[in-house]
Amino acid sequence: MRKAYGDALVALGKANDKVVALSADVANSDFSFMFEAAYPQRFFNVGIAEQSLVDVAVGFAYSGYIPFANTFAFLFATRALEMIRTHLCYGKANVKLMGAYAGLSDSFDGPTHHSITDVAIMRSLPNMTIVVPGDSVALAKLLPQIADWKGPVYMRLNRNEVPVLFDESYSPQIGKAVTVREGKDLTIIACGLMLSRSLEAAELLTLAGVTARVLDMHTIKPIDRDAIISAAKDTGAIVTVEEHSVIGGLGGAVAEIVCEECSVPVKRVGLRDCFAETGPYDAILEAYGMSTEHIVEAAKVALQAKRH
């Protein structure tokens, strides 16, 4: 997804001369170096200093620019959190945070670099918007909307190539879920890479005679309440799937709404409140409960609960 991000950021820079990019010296990791190559006068490397990265971006935002700050996802959510809370969320600075290497996608660098709590942390902040694109097409479609969006946005980016799900006809809108597969027995709600695995799981479930609706929840906040309530009412059971802790992220957000509005069984697929470990991406996802089979299993449990 990195090259796609670099391409999309350059395209945005071409379309809008108020867009600037800031980096905490990982531009060759997150591919914001492509923006630097295209628009060197609008690119600023503040060094390995993530708190300063966000604050300098705040200065640009208050001066009428649209700053895209780039570093690893976990560093935004943990090291620079107070800057984000005070100036982006409370102070309404229009800064866009591009969280590279999100989830477990920087698998070989290990748990110090994995980002498994960022969505929960960001989601708890008033005025924050959170976007998790399902593939590179979604990323390219959503990035200009993020630039136009009034207020701070946090976007998760995957370090690795993810299956391409969409074509040019895909037209996501921030805050609106996309139904990517229809079904009546349960609904699988997913974001990011897990969307492709959820579609695979839905296909496998047909072998057991189960049809699953699959929702692309590319915006975790403001989340599409109506789509979740409809899913609960129409299908009676929900599985959430995310590359994140099951605490406080997509699963938490869906469970909160379902509990309040239309109580049906909800099963959350994600990390079970633990750190992962170093290793190949697929192997870690498998070992920590985020394989296609885990989604199928969760669906079966949800269906079982629904019958009772």
Binding site: V20, Q41, R42, F44, V46, G47, A49, Q51, S52, D55, V56, A57, V58, G59, F60, A61, Y62, S63, G64, Y65, P67, E82, M83, T86, H87, Y90, G91, K92
Partner: protein, 296 residues
């Protein structure tokens, strides 16, 4: 450099004394707020807002304005008093400070108070945010109009940041200092309100920062040291800082926490404590006596 008249110095000094009385009223009224650090910043703020900075109180969002980032947000009672008397909002609002429904929050909120540029209170943000603003202004985000007031100094807007000395314990201060130097931000001036006292004691004990001028110079900044309650020194230093090109500037203003009230000076217990009636009356009497001296 400009010649500053005695009349100007007297005016700015008297304002600083009067606004200290406002701060006392504000903090006493709801028995909450920070006096010590507000008093140490008084002359710095009157010099900036009533003389040095290019601004228009009727247009707080004016693109060409100079920006003042009040990073030591806890001392905002003085900022509010200065902004009100400069015409940004009705001085009658000052007594609503820290009360429910007030536009004057406990710590500054740019959305609620005209003239406030950034949220502050969590310490350390001003220099890095000021760096971003100074970069943005230099990029031409703001183009001077032909109606700009003629001035000896550059027509482009400048960024001023007031930071406290306890505040520079924070790492992000030094991150911002490095970035400002890297980008050679001649349009950025930091004023360090060096009152020597932080919440629980002397800065020298809590977290030694000396030799602060050498440290700042080693980071690539233009450095001046002044007496921060001497208005003439403040004005001269601000002028000199404006003339520095291709380097950010810091003015280390040696100040006194609680300046102007004998029993509050140099005492960290007046960092965040409100006065009772007796203390209030005594403090106001001291300040009024000083005002009378300057007026005679």
């Amino acid at each position: 450099m400009h010649y500053h008249t005695e009349k100007l110095v007297r005016d700015l000094t008297i304002r600083a004394l009067k606004y200290r009385i406002d701060v006392l009223r504000m903090v006493k009224n709801h028995q909450t707020g920070h006096i010590g650090g507000a008093f140490s910043a008084a002359e710095i703020l009157t010099s900036l807002y009533f003389h040095h900075m290019k601004l228009d109180p009727s247009r707080p969002d004016w693109q060409e304005r100079d920006r003042l980032l009040f990073s030591k947000g806890h001392a905002c009672a003085m900022l509010y008093a200065v902004l009100a008397h400069r015409g940004f909002f009705d001085p009658n609002l000052l007594l609503t400070f820290r009360s429910f429904n007030s536009s004057l929050q406990g710590h500054p909120d740019p959305a609620k108070t005209p003239g406030v540029e950034i949220a502050a209170g969590p310490l350390g943000h001003g220099i890095a945010i000021g760096t971003g603003m100074a970069l943005a202004l230099r990029m031409g985000g703001v183009k001077p109009s032909s109606q700009s007031a003629p001035s000896a100094r550059s027509a482009t807007a400048r960024v001023y940041v007031v930071v406290g000395d306890g505040e520079i314990n924070a790492g992000v201060i030094w991150e911002g200092m490095m970035s400002a130097a890297k980008y050679r931000l001649g349009n950025l001036t930091v004023i360090l309100d060096y009152n020597g006292i932080q919440q629980t004691g002397a800065t020298a004990d809590v977290m030694p920062t000396e030799p602060i001028a050498d440290k700042w110079a080693a980071f690539g900044w233009h450095v001046q040291e002044i007496h921060g309650h001497n208005v003439l020194e403040v004005l001269d230093a601000l002028d000199r800082a404006d003339e520095v090109h291709a380097r950010p500037s810091v003015i280390i203003a040696r100040t006194v926490k609680g300046k102007g009230v004998s029993f509050m000076e140099y005492d960290h217990r007046w960092h965040g404590a409100p006065p009772n009636e007796e203390q209030f009356a005594s403090a106001v009497a001291e300040l009024e006596e000083e005002i009378a001296k300057w007026q005679s």
